[in-house]
Amino acid sequence: MTTIRSVEDIDPQLNQRFILDSNVIIQFLDKDNLYYGQVKSKIDQLFLAGVQFYYPAPALLEIKNYWRLKELHDAIQLAIDNGFNFFAKFQDYFKDVAPKRRKNNKYLNDNDVKELRAILERIHSNKGVNRWFLLCETALKGKMSAIDQTMKDSNIRYTNFGDEEIFLNGEKTEWPKWGTANNLIEKYALASNDAAILNMAFAKKIDGFISNDRDLVFAVKNGAYPSDKLFYTFLK
């Protein structure tokens, strides 16, 4: 069974390879995140000591989704903070849910966004909906490509099955298999994205995985990741 270790206990080796889970990368990128300082400084420190960090495509999608919700949250909060009088029901709903999400170090969730849009639609089908889309466009304009660029400029490398260094130059038997991701979903009921990200860390040339997802930690504690691999977390 894989031991769950603290990131503080990593003994960095030159060219040691780790896949980072999306939650770790989000904490590495978002300065408003409670764990930004801790995660950013540790990842940089390990990188300077020779460790290589990677992320696969599903992690990038999760990062973008997180930022979408963060920007929408911040835009509505900005309106409220500046005394702009949004439709009252819309504002009341936001004021009710946003502090609850922030308590969990998150922003809005998908259902909140759907409900906020529906409230505007119910109040005023033309003006409300138009304003919703204008708000989204203004809050999110250029953000997704900015995330792409930030990741390109960061010290975390993108990897996929076409990565020669990690996958293609190895034996085909060393590659991760989609069947493994399916098993992770079926056996541990992991979210499909989580399973797809962890699956990449099964590759022989990857030494381990770093995640701050409690569901994943629980699954790994119960055998979801091979015992000859390393699994680290910032969680206490």
Partner: protein
């Protein structure tokens, strides 16, 4: 190869490795600097805040014009 030549080869390989390590460390330091700058840029909200506040002000003007028009209509009736 004489012992002297062997020793000098070992020294030159060692120097090359040290240079390589120094170069690698410098590259990594540069990568962290670039990464930090990129993150600062991603988190900079100056422009988006300005754009949103401009949008909110436009909506306020629209709302105020709408309510003026509605009051006028009420008075006319």
């Amino acid at each position: 190869m004489t012992l002297g030549a062997k020793n000098s080869k070992v020294i030159s390989v060692k120097e090359e490795l040290m240079n390589q390590t120094e170069k690698d460390i410098a590259l990594r330091q540069e990568a962290v600097k670039k990464s930090t700058e990129a993150i600062d840029k991603l988190n900079d909200k100056t422009q988006v805040k300005a754009n949103l506040l401009k949008l909110f002000k436009e909506w306020e003007k629209e709302d105020s014009a709408d309510s003026e028009a509605a009051s006028k209509k009420n008075l006319d009736q």
